[in-house]
Assembly symmetry: C3
Homo-oligomer: 345 residues x 3
């Protein structure tokens, strides 16, 4: 619950045609919003709904504010303004306390206003901060720490000694702190597991998607810095570091000890090899493969888009003859050069 004045303040917007004292209780799309809700206009295709909306106020751009038929909150960047406003209405710990079906070790420390949901396990030495929400069926390992107002939606596994910062949001099925894939090979080709002694440290305001996995470090820690956003089904191997405010789309895989810079964006399905470094502000497009360090900001790609299967099979076959083609062209060039003075001279 907030007043329009409070919404305007937090979202850096100005009121147009509405009253700062009006109380609002949530957000909704333009065509479904009721009085007492705010809405927003970030795509022009929804502009048609402005006239008929019942929202108490609509967040929109300076441009869309001109001749706006609805009460408005006018912002430079309506997307950010909406995002910040919507955070006002995010659910907080629904209740304080520990659900009777949760099992909490007597040696765990749970803040008085935190919530531990049904069927959870919280092991010895875990520290759960103020306002934390732990949804149903989560597991918090020994000595794991969850900072203030962090939220685990459901079915999340936080392994032993993992540290999450404040306001971290973790979606169902995510696993933070699983063992890294550390193996030693003996002379007979058998693998021996190397103990994974590090932790995972996650900064503030990080979001971690459904079924994403982040391995603990082998010796040192795996680190996810402040403001990083990880989509679903991402794999982060041991000792990776992801710089602040980077965003990784679904199904990205990052191999061990890779360092990703700040403000990077990796598209869906991107693969990053181990033991390399990616500079700040690098963008990699979907399904590309990074095998070497990238020192310059910019956009990088290696994904190939589909063709009709028959065309693609021809291209693929031609690729395999490409080296021979280079030699054929070189032979032609040699021949032409031998022809006489007209071409080179």
């Amino acid at each position: 619950m907030a007043t329009l004045g409070e919404v305007a303040a937090v979202s850096d917007a100005r009121l147009q045609g509405c009253d700062a004292a009006t109380v609002v209780t949530g957000v909704a799309p333009l065509d479904r919003a009721q009085p007492g809700q705010i809405s927003f206009l970030t795509h022009s295709r929804y502009r048609q709904y402005l006239a008929a909306t019942r929202a108490s106020a609509v967040i929109l751009s300076v441009k869309d504010a001109v001749e706006c038929p609805a009460p408005a909150l006018v912002a430079e960047n309506p997307q950010v303004a909406y995002a910040r406003a919507s955070a006002l209405f995010e659910p907080t710990a629904e209740a304080a306390g520990i659900h009777p079906t949760a099992w909490v070790s007597p040696d765990a420390r749970i803040a008085a206003d935190a919530w531990i949901g049904p069927q959870c396990t919280v092991e010895a030495g875990a520290v759960i901060g103020a306002g934390v929400f732990v949804g149903p069926n989560c597991v918090i390992g020994e000595q794991a720490e969850l900072g203030e107002r962090t939220r685990l939606v459901a079915h999340v596994t936080i392994c032993h000694r993992v540290r999450l910062g404040r306001r971290v949001l973790v979606h169902p099925g995510a696993v933070i702190g699983s063992d890294g894939f550390g193996l030693a090979l003996d002379r007979d080709g058998r693998w021996f597991k190397i103990a994974q002694l590090g932790r995972v440290r996650v900064g503030d305001d990080v979001e971690i998607g459904a079924n994403t996995t982040v391995d603990r470090g082998a010796l040192d820690d795996t680190v996810i810095e402040d403001g990083v956003k990880l989509d679903n089904q991402i794999q982060v191997a041991h000792n990776v570091r992801i710089g602040a405010h980077s965003a990784l789309a679904g199904c990205v895989g990052i191999a061990g000890s890779a360092v990703i810079g700040r403000h990077c964006m990796l598209g869906g399905g991107v693969g990053v090899a181990g033991h390399l470094e990616i500079a700040d502000r690098v963008q990699v497009t979907g399904m590309s493969l990074v095998t070497q360090s990238i020192s310059q900001p910019g956009t990088y790609s290696s994904g190939l888009a589909v063709e009709p299967n028959r065309t693609w099979n021809k291209i693929s076959a031609r690729l395999r003859q490409l080296d021979a083609l280079f030699r054929r062209v070189a032979a032609l060039e040699k021949t032409n050069n031998q022809d006489g003075s007209t071409q080179e001279g």
Copy 2:
């Protein structure tokens, strides 16, 4: 339990050398089937087991029915016939009721003949239809709805307000209704979460694989239409629509707002970019990348198959010289044209 007559009716087969009144209780492979079980022959390599099988009847094709030494159920399409027959023996809700270790909100509505398994959480407002089976350690969020005879195997997360149709089958670790990856970027390069207000709507007869994730819509809903089959580890982003009877193999990733047609087939590891449309009856082969809309049915590819590493490194290096090669060939063509009249004239 069914009679061979009932099996024949449901699987559109005719009896040969067996009695319609014979009672059967399950299915098994040819070499392991016992009297009272039916079996099937869909691959010729198993034909050797026909003579010795103890099955009460074998589902097979018109062709294999000739001189068949075993009692048979003869079908046009033995694979479909077997699939339909085997459904007769699928486990149904093992018991009606709520396991004593489950936690069910007093505000949830559970059909009398549904089963809620051990360690489950069912939150307020959830609606569980007739004959639904919820296996162990599942989470059903607030106001989620599960249609008749839907089955969650174990460890499934159905988030708030998600609607599953009838006879939906969800495998362990799947997450339906996690937040979409909706973010707004401010001037300083920090991300702000955009509230995800939509739902996921799943039709009838859908199968969703282990550890597959389907995000809820940002405003409108993410939609999986009737009869869609999703394999394991698939990622479906917010506001995607997957048309009826499409089948997606493991590890497919679909970005936000993509629309997949009906009767499509996507191979393993295929990536589909956001905000595009794929027509009905499109097939995409494994590990291909779709970056633009596809308007014509057919098969599309962009995957490249392995070569010995050394060969591949050469191809890869040559690719990077390809533009130069085009220029070299153009130069040769120009030279040849300048040579005189013999080539062009």
Copy 3:
């Protein structure tokens, strides 16, 4: 707890400058190790910490043992020696028994010294071997079998009739024994599920990563042989066989009925098509696609590394003109041959 003598014996190392009777209780990195802990030196960049380490002994190579200022355990292969030593300190079943919040069917057989953690479900007919550790919130299906000293970290799903060998380690979110993706297509393009009647059989000393999925066989079993190591987020389809001591990195996907040899290594994100066979000792580099059988050991690739986006777009466009280029070069060759005797003669 072990003596340095015991550590030396298990890790095939010799003592240098330390006492075989010294008791040690754990492992730690060089710079953090305390007296009573052993440490190790496997990368030269940590050599600087040797002089100041407080470890009771440091595992290192014959070469690094020369002029070593610290007490040492000298080994041929210090990585393997360390791995084997660290196993001495691995946690074993923390307690014997069944946590009061676990639900265990009265028809399950649990070894007296096994541990079933909080919020677990163990169904009828399950057999849990000696010294097994089942962490919190795991599900063990009907008639599943876990061999001696196998360890499920947390949130693991072992489906009905799956068999795990001895000393298997399964990380959170993994699903072993989900249904294979077996479907039959009818004339109208609708899919019918084919019952998945096989099991998964996992050998001894296998490790299975977080959120990895292994499907049960359709008829016969899916098989993971002894010593196989699977990283996180891997998908193994029905009826796959993975040969002993093979290691698969994160996000690998293997389609149905593929057979992977022994001592193979698949890089991150590799895709393997179905119904093919890969020989022993094959290595495939990251994000490559295997579409046909590989009969010779060696390293195989088809991944393409990123270029700056603009460069890549040019390469990608040129690829689509490649077939035409071959024809242009052929035309040039034909022309040159027609030119006269100077080139060919």
